[in-house]
Symmetry: C2
């Protein structure tokens, strides 16, 4: 193995650093942490671990929210943070090829030089590998799509050490079965990514961001549905409720008004953005919108989105002793207002202070709340709350997770959500990872 | 079985009708043709066929171009044309649920009442089931994406008779493995679709279509790359070369100029379309474009796209004794001009009259040619031509098929294109269809 002694750690500090993620899920120590430098290193680690019947846990930056990276069955954590090279940027093909440890900020810094950007923006500055792994999305998805829509090719090390490519560099293909979309969102249960080719976009000629308040969350949500039905190609449309806004103001020292608010952004040419804005304003006024405010420059625009991206941290930093739980259902747009109302009412019933934020253009919303992980009553109470939200989503033919993934936290809902299709997923896991080598007991397992 | 005698045919006429597709591939008779009326019928047919060890071939309208539906191993053709109900149209969710036998024209007729449209438009008026099966695309894909981008849920009858749903009605999901994208493009090798939920779009406020000529194919292709890099959200951008244009004029009695031509379309609000058009014209003038002509009304616009959609029929009807061969590679945009030039030069070397048309915004182009299926020398010559085009595409990290699928015609390239990933695909086929019941020897088989 080329990894070398200097990249293999058995010490308590390293093991502890890789024992948890950003969520309330219980930590657990791995046996060893390894930092590969190349795909050959990854292959060696996989083969060695398999020969000792040790489990493997791919790790990016540990920003997951459902315990995805926690090594509950001991074994080897593979930390990809040193495989963080941007291998090529190809403006002509609008593609970039990177190693899995590249972070989204790092990628966008580099792309900016070419007038390009990478569209997927979860709250955390996650690694691209982690984002592929959970099929992450974010505020831009309503226009640009989720992680699955960006992945053109993955290099993957399989359980037997074989290295495959799941796709190619063409815009579309009807050749064989689609493996890109199978490996995206597999949460490290089918293999380790060692390289990824992703779609990027030209920075739009004109970008306008703004915010608008509503008297009720209901009005805000219905206005979003109306805007989308009108076909306005909004680039971002994010809901933030009063509780979340309060936490944001405390955390960022901002003075956003404390009412249900939409943060919006429009991308295009100056004429189209002007038209879209005016059309959007006129629709939203039918839903009692007040105080449309546009960012006057790039700095104000950045501050707006910085505040939005930090909502989760605004919560978790407000009570450092507690840990974060974030629900993540996604429902059909026609059920969104009702689902959010249900989440608010249920929080009241459970005496939980939950903030609601949402990628409402996608029908995806989060209830954010803090929980003392050592208080079993509190844990049981918030778990019951989460469960009711999920059940509501499944009843309207939605999903238990829109973008955070299953990890360990959502495993219990897969049977109910997928029915017999879960057996198909498990048969695929069995075919590709028969010894359950990769990230056991997460997402799909056997 | 509820199918009933009246829906089961053993006669020569029915068997012959289901022995071929629209391509040059050799016909072969099935044992029997069955027309199910419901998913329960499909399940009964699958179970019965499996119990007799008979193969199953799902069939839409037989418009495939690589022999996908031909029953080379005898057995049962399931013709879905009588399962052609539009089950629901949901403007609020921008979703439609249909049975697989619905055709794209039928669907768009219905959607028009709601101000909606379905975006995928292959040349043929195919069934939606067939389009899902091959991951079809068409002229609109550059803006709206391919079939995979439209499928939100499929109801599928598996080899053991289990009926599953591959997705849900939410815009996005990170729950479990992605089965939607696995079943889309599987070409009937993993199961039979009995219901599908698809994304639809609002008919844009403003649509402008037009055409523009270039002195060379090279200029035309480079202008497309430049337009896409500039981020102009063109809705359709189609290349038609002189030979194809001649066939089009003969077939449709039109008088399009005989030079390399782009057919274009812009969707949006009046302001943005105006801006995009002007920007596009100015870019294209750098590539020596001449004679920008815009359709003055809807009738002229329809005539334009009718001509484009009928290019393949313009060829096949020009020499009824011969059969159609259509190449279908897709390459990275940066290699498109070179790939098309290579296809033209190679046609000259092989003394083949091949027309080139292309969804150039996607890097996907077709060489259309006619072949006498009874002349083995001619067949060998065009096969060698096709092979050179495919090999070029694979060398630049493209794919052997951008939208037509593998069928039997492209099977021989899968090893070269996918390498060890082909083994992964086969392991999935083995896991889901261990007895090779569905559409054997097409696409992925064991």
């Amino acid at each position: 193995m080329k990894v070398g002694k200097q990249n293999v750690y058995f010490n308590e500090t390293q093991r502890s650093l890789h024992s948890s993620d950003e969520s309330y899920h219980q930590p657990s120590l791995p046996d060893v942490v390894v930092y590969p430098q190349s795909k050959e290193d990854v292959r060696s680690i996989v083969k060695l671990a398999a020969s000792f019947n040790e489990k493997i846990y791919p790790y990016g930056l540990g920003t997951s929210l459902e315990g995805h990276v926690i090594p509950y069955q001991k074994g080897v954590v593979i930390d990809f943070s040193q495989m963080n090279a941007i291998l090529s940027v190809d403006p002509e093909d609008l593609l970039v090829t990177v190693q899995p440890g590249v972070t989204r900020d790092q990628l966008n810094q580099e792309l900016k030089k070419y007038g390009l950007f990478f569209s997927v923006d979860p709250g955390a500055n996650a690694t691209v590998g982690g984002m592929v792994s959970t099929n992450a999305s974010g505020t831009n998805s309503v226009k640009y799509g989720v992680m699955r829509d960006q992945v053109r090719d993955l290099e993957v090390v399989l359980a037997d050490g074989t290295i495959i490519h799941s796709g190619n560099r063409a815009v579309k293909s009807s050749s064989g079965y689609d493996l890109n979309n199978l490996f995206v969102g597999a949460e490290g249960t089918l293999g380790c990514y060692t390289e990824m080719t992703l779609k990027v976009y030209g920075i739009p000629e004109k970008i306008v961001a703004g915010r608008v308040q509503f008297p009720s969350l209901h009005d805000a949500v219905y206005s979003v549905t109306a805007v989308l039905q009108a076909g306005i190609p909004v680039a971002r449309i994010e809901l933030i409720d009063e509780i979340s806004m309060m936490k944001v103001n405390q955390h960022n020292d901002t003075k956003f008004p404390l009412s249900p608010t939409l943060f919006l952004e429009f991308h295009g040419n100056p004429q189209s953005v002007q038209h879209d804005l005016a059309f959007c304003e006129s629709i939203m006024s039918d839903y009692n919108s007040t105080d449309f405010h546009y960012a006057k420059d790039n700095a104000e625009r950045s501050a707006l989105w910085h505040a939005r991206h930090n909502v989760a941290y605004a919560f978790s930093h407000s009570e450092p002793r507690k840990k974060l739980m974030v629900t993540d259902v996604c429902v059909p747009l026609s059920s969104l207002a009702e689902a959010i109302k249900h989440a608010q009412m249920t929080a009241l019933e459970h005496h939980i202070e939950a903030g609601i934020v949402g990628h409402v253009g996608d029908g995806n919303f989060h209830a954010l709340l803090l929980v003392d992980p050592h208080d079993s009553n509190e844990l049981a109470n918030v778990a019951a709350y989460n469960e009711k939200i999920v059940r509501f989503a499944l009843q309207v033919n939605g999903t238990c997770t829109g973008e955070h993934g299953v990890g360990v936290g959502k495993v219990k809902y897969l049977e109910e959500e997928h029915g017999d299709a879960l057996r198909v997923m498990k048969s695929i896991k069995r075919a590709l990872d028969p010894t359950n080598l990769f990230n056991p007991n997460k997402n799909i397992f056997i």
